[in-house]
């Protein structure tokens, strides 16, 4: 029985206003509620929070979900510790070019910083070793902090060859497949589970106005290598092997890059050679691409109807399998650490452990941040913001990732010299300038020369 519902203009306006108010206020109410719980949680720690009362800290970060998520938490930190915090944010490009110069000049500020190239920061002596701070009972309550609640990959990421931890993982991301189920349904297709299916599906879904798939391919070390890396690993390849040599010219790596290149060359959007993550996200969110494969963090934007036209149609899945090889999506955990030249290292450690603690992560997860803690991922507030299906897919991919092969390249002290030639090779394959074998052979020669130098 259909019942026609008629609304007067006034009723409609009132309804719209109530919805808008609800949408605007609900997250704040949820955050305020979580903040109350967190305040009680911090009180349970056997830590002298007020030990550095009156000090002030500077945090330098990129414009990033982490910095956006911690900003509203900082007043609570000041309330609990008496330490004031100034948060400076810059774009990723500005940040990555400015920080080495600042730290190279041994600047005492910032006290806490996001670390984009851990190997480089450690070998240059810019990142303070943290193990002594973890061992300081006045600063750190191990039982309360509960390291076991942190994902294994996130615990593993900061550990360096000398056994020291120089940073804390602050986010957990895994390469995840996104698909537009409405487009799949119209074409009578299912979410692809193998690489061959992925290619066939992308080709079938490609039209004059919609790309079959959108992924990163820009000739930039922060673009193609991360997503294409998951393809290389899933085909059984590696970038840097156990002996520290570049092995991108292996058959497995060539097969992975060849598949990545074919997908984008034959089913990608026009101009994909200039795609970074934001172009890929934009295409999928606007319905200009049927498939995407990038960071699980994209789910926060894709499932937000205010930012995405496909919020209701997006489905999330594991990276497709390549033959009999185990699926190894790329993973990533952003790092934060203490400036080795900071004059307020203990207060800085207090801030880092505060933000990365169980209650701290619950607060940032309420803003949709994919933190490193199981408890935060399971929280109702996070599930609401991130989406239950997206978080399930992300967790599956996080657990399939291989931190060792990731760290061998991305946390290498010469990571930039490794990833730049790889990015160029990926771009050349995608734009048809070279075949995968030739491009990767050239990249391998260049990388091995840089590693020897």
């Amino acid at each position: 029985m259909n019942r026609e519902i008629r609304l007067s203009r006034r009723q409609l306006m009132a309804g719209a206003a109530a919805t808008a108010f609800g949408l605007a206020v609900a997250p704040r109410l949820s955050f305020a509620q979580t903040a109350e719980e967190a305040r009680a949680g911090f009180a349970g720690a056997d830590v002298d929070w007020m030990a550095f009362k009156g000090e002030s800290l500077t945090v330098e970060a990129m414009t990033h979900p982490w910095s956006a998520a911690i900003e509203p938490i900082l007043p609570l930190f000041t309330e609990i510790t008496g330490i004031s915090v100034k948060l400076n944010t810059q774009s990723e490009t500005e940040y990555t070019s400015q920080m080495p110069i600042k730290l190279g000049a041994k600047a005492a500020e910032p006290d806490v910083m996001m670390i984009h190239a851990l190997g480089q920061f450690v070998s240059a002596g810019w990142a303070e070793p943290l193990d002594a701070y973890y061992a300081d009972k006045a600063l750190f309550d191990a039982a309360w902090y509960d390291q076991d609640d942190i994902f294994a990959m996130a615990r593993d990421f900061p550990a360096q060859a000398d056994g020291q931890n120089y940073s804390m993982s602050i986010t957990a991301e895994a390469q995840t497949l996104f698909a537009n189920k409405a487009m799949l349904g119209e074409a009578g297709l299912a979410v692809p589970t193998t690489m061959d299916e992925l290619l066939a599906t992308a080709l079938k879904l490609k039209t004059d106005t919609v790309a079959g798939i959108a992924m990163r391919a820009k000739s930039d070390s922060s673009a193609g290598p991360w997503t294409c890396g998951g393809f290389v690993f899933s085909y059984g390849g590696e970038i840097i092997d156990g002996e520290g040599r570049c092995v991108l010219d292996s058959d497995a790596a060539v097969a992975g890059v060849e598949m990545y290149g074919r997908l984008l060359r034959e089913a990608g959007p026009i101009g994909v050679g200039n795609y970074h993550w934001y172009e890929a996200l934009n295409d999928f969110s606007s319905g200009a691409a049927a498939l995407g494969c990038d960071s699980s963090n994209f789910a926060t934007d894709i499932s937000n109807p205010e930012k995405s036209l496909v919020a209701a149609d997006a489905v999330y899945a594991a990276l497709p399998r390549a033959g009999e090889h185990p699926i190894k999506p790329n993973i990533w955990a952003w790092q934060a650490g203490i400036n080795a030249y900071s004059k307020k290292k203990k207060a800085a450690f207090l801030l880092l452990s505060f933000l990365n603690s169980g209650p701290g992560c619950l607060l940032s997860a309420a803003s949709g941040l994919a933190t490193v803690r199981n408890s935060a991922w399971k929280s109702e507030a996070f599930q609401k913001r991130f989406g239950a299906e997206a978080s399930a897919a992300a967790l599956l991919n996080l657990n399939s990732g291989d931190a060792r092969i990731f760290k061998a390249a991305w946390f290498h002290k010469k990571s930039s010299e490794i990833l730049d030639p790889f990015a160029v090779a990926i771009n050349q394959v995608v734009t048809g300038q070279a075949d995968a074998r030739a491009a990767l052979a050239a990249a391998t020669t260049k990388i091995n020369a840089a590693l020897k130098g």
Binding site: T96, G104, D220, I270, G271, G273, N274, N427, T431, A434
Partner: protein, 298 residues
């Protein structure tokens, strides 16, 4: 008397030196000192990741650089970009100046319109071009579509990326040539042109045989500035292509950025910067001497 004069002269000289000192010290500390530091670093293996260990490596950075395919590839791309962009800008700048020379008296606002691109902040203009070049949502492909031409990948395709960058540079810097040439035309006495016309020469003949040779000093100045500036172009390329696709637009400046800021190899990057400086100085001298364009006696 002579003694007194000397004392006054000495006092004057001392006063002048004291007055010049702040500006001189500032200039030396901002230009000469960094330059000398760069020269020193170019002979070392200094890396920001190992700041404590600076080793003197002699000419190694220079020999590595000059034997590197990346360097010669970047030099080739830089040369093509510089010559083509400045060439087009010169032809357009001189052409528009010749057309406007008589018209601006009637419509002075035309000059303002033509000079606008130069007045816009380069980075803002570049980001606008980035939107315009967007293959799916950009206005350029929309216009091509209206004309029945298939869309182009512009900055994302190896065939069109460098051309797209040249297009932006031409749009932004043609007004610079235009400004200097128009200034030159306004300063030239009109009698030779009038005599040429009275002798029966047409406007083209008059322009090429009478006006253009007299514009040589102005053109030389404009070209020299533009060649040096185009050779160092960074912002347009960094924002629009980042040196890609592949390395299709990786110029020497982009390569220096890559080694200095991304790889943190300051020694090698300094050597590259010094080579660029030497190249600019030598090319500038050759340009001025060979073409004799800067001979103000003419």
């Amino acid at each position: 008397m002579p003694l007194r004069q000397t004392t006054i002269q000495r006092a004057e000289r001392s006063f002048i030196l004291w007055m010049l000192a702040p500006a001189t010290i500032l200039m030396l500390s901002l230009t000469l000192v960094p330059f000398l530091v760069s020269v020193y670093l170019s002979f070392t293996d200094y890396s920001l990741t190992a700041p404590e260990t600076i080793n003197w490596v002699g000419l190694k950075n220079y020999s590595d650089l000059l034997s590197s395919a990346d360097f010669w590839d970047a030099a080739r791309i830089t040369t093509i970009f510089t010559i083509v962009a400045v060439g087009i800008e010169t032809v357009l700048g001189v052409g528009i100046a010749a057309l406007l020379h008589h018209e601006v008296r009637q419509a002075p606002w035309l000059r303002v319109i033509y000079l606008l691109p130069m007045a816009i902040t380069p980075i803002a203009a570049t980001f606008t071009f980035r939107l315009m070049f967007n293959p799916t949502q950009g206005v350029l492909n929309h216009l091509l579509g209206l004309a029945g031409v298939s869309p182009s990948a512009w900055t994302a395709a190896p065939e069109t990326a460098l051309l797209s960058l040249i297009l932006v540079d031409v749009w932004q810097w043609t007004p610079f040539i235009l400004l200097i040439v128009m200034g030159g035309m306004a300063a030239l006495p009109p009698e030779p042109e009038e005599a040429s016309q009275m002798d029966g020469a047409g406007p083209f003949r008059t322009f090429f045989l009478v006006t253009l040779p007299r514009l040589k000093p102005y053109l030389a100045l404009a070209l020299l500035f533009r060649l040096i500036d185009a050779f160092k172009t960074f912002d347009i390329i960094f924002v629009l292509t980042g040196g890609g696709p592949g390395v299709a637009t990786r110029t020497l400046n982009l390569l220096a950025y890559k080694y200095g800021i991304e790889f943190l190899s300051m020694g090698y990057a300094s050597a590259l910067a010094i080579v660029m400086l030497v190249f600019t100085l030598v090319a500038g001298q050759v340009f001025l001497r060979r073409l004799g364009l800067f001979d103000l006696k003419d």
